[in-house]
Amino acid sequence: MNEKDKSVLTGAHFINGDVACAEGAIAAGCRFFAGYPITPATEIAERMAERLPHLGGTYIQMEDEIASVTAILGASWSGVKSMTSTSGPGFSLMMEGIGLGIMTETPCVIVNVQRGGPSTGLPTMVAQGDMMQARWGSHGHYEIIALCPSSPQEMFDLTVKAFNLSELYRLPVLIMADEVVAHMTEKVVIPRPQSLKIINRRKTTVSKDKYMPYAAGARIVPPIAHAGDGYHIHITGLTHNEMGYPQIDMETHQRLVKRLIDKIRVNIDKITIIEEDGMNNAEVIVCAYGISARTSMLPVKLARKKGMRVGMLKLVTPWPFPEQKIRKISRIKGLRRIIVPEINYGQIALEVERCVAGRQKVITLPHGGGGTHNVEEILDAILDN
């Protein structure tokens, strides 16, 4: 078989994070990509445009990001795993569509390769300024899932994971990458297809006359019937009843919104991933995500060499925020402070502060964007008494 006709490119590759992300999507079964190219996410679109036609998939370059996100929602309802990728300016335009995806419970993956903002900002340079936008950017109260890769390998692994989560919980899942991770080239090992764990959305098993599209039952997540399956379905952004029809009253709304939130809150321990290293007896903990977790590794190691007990806490899924885990960590005996380096002026640090609730000192290590923290900045913060 020709290499380009394979969906899983098993083997070792020297590729950048964007390409690894596209390969992760394809390996997870994504066969529809709609997008509008934007630095530093363009290589994702390029790779999808190159690969999808050989796999029976579809690549559409849309007129803008509003159309892109809406197109992937539609494609998902036809039964195809779908993705779009963008950066800050496009992510802002996608906010409305993300809300529609949440409300209609549409599985899909949205990649935001973060660059310096506000506005068009720094097209070719890194930032992590969209973390709160990812959490709260669309209107209404909802829960979201976001994953932050720290290397090209994680761009592959976490894209597969993002598809699995979106299929399992039926919502848009965000990959909050950044320019450095996206443009960094490293060895990425793609496993054999049989060792990849792939989850597909649960389809309805009831007969056509009994099917109610939004009847979730005890599992909170309703089984799906796709457009064209022969079931009667109705999809709307308006508050809807179990039949999917608009029903504009308080009881229906409260029931629906609570379920959309419970999908994530009830399953938070199954969803969140954190990586801990050297947390036992830590006097200082560095808590970071994405590229900042990667750049923290060397200063943590150097501080340990100087005899400091430093814990490294990596938030692979900043959303939903691992509240209970952070609360538990904040009770570690002898811990003096938690340092949060991020390429913004303190976003996830606010969440850490909230969960630590004054038990520890939380120190924000801000960075305006355009580069990563250097080793000394983080090392000094760790060593600082």
């Binding site: 020297f14 630095t39 070719t124 080239t185 490293e186 590229i291 990667r294 750049t295 060397l298």
Partner: protein
């Protein structure tokens, strides 16, 4: 072994590709770790560009170079910008026709070793100016032995268009066998 390298020049000279091939040779064809990052402005052709490559026998934590062990400069601007952050025994490889400082040590940057090569001229003698990056890569391989000649050639074969593999391997040999006068 832990080497931090910078490849620098103008957009269009194949700077990023040179760094890519070197990193691929290390991480795919040898048992090493390699991390490649790059700087470029909004424009890609004609503007200053650079590729930063770290090659190590241990996992690479910090992805950016801190002190440059090997600087490959194919433009005067690239040389100027990157000459201040070198290790004491750094190796500098330049295209001698494009980087004026190549001629000697008058700049007195530490006890730095400068190795000039007329890469673009050699590439022109092979019929294509655009293979200057591969000529330089041959020279880098012979000089630094950062990866084996065989691994580098494997990486070239799998990174350039099929129709130009032969020309690229020829260019590599030209640089590898270049003897300074």
């Amino acid at each position: 072994m832990h080497k931090e390298m910078i490849f620098t020049g103008f957009g269009g000279q194949g700077i990023i590709l040179a760094g890519y091939i070197c990193g691929k040779a290390a991480s795919i064809y040898e048992n090493l770790y390699a991390t490649l990052t790059q700087n470029y402005g909004p424009e890609s052709r004609g503007g200053a560009c650079s590729a930063q490559l770290i090659v190590s026998d241990k996992p690479i934590f910090y992805p950016h170079p801190i002190k440059t062990d090997i600087l490959v400069a194919l433009s005067a601007e690239g040389y100027q910008k990157n000459q201040n952050n070198l290790t004491k025994d750094a190796i500098i490889i330049t295209d001698q026709d494009l980087v004026p400082a190549s001629k000697g040590m008058e700049h007195g940057v530490f006890s730095v070793n400068i190795y000039p090569i007329p890469a673009t001229r050699l590439a022109e003698s092979l019929g294509k100016k655009m293979v200057a990056n591969i000529v330089v890569l041959g020279f880098v391989t012979a000089l630094t032995k950062i990866v084996s000649k065989r691994s580098m050639m494997e990486a070239i074969k799998t990174s350039v268009p099929e129709a130009s593999i032969e020309l690229n391997l020829l260019s590599f040999e030209k640089g590898f066998n270049y003897k300074q006068v």
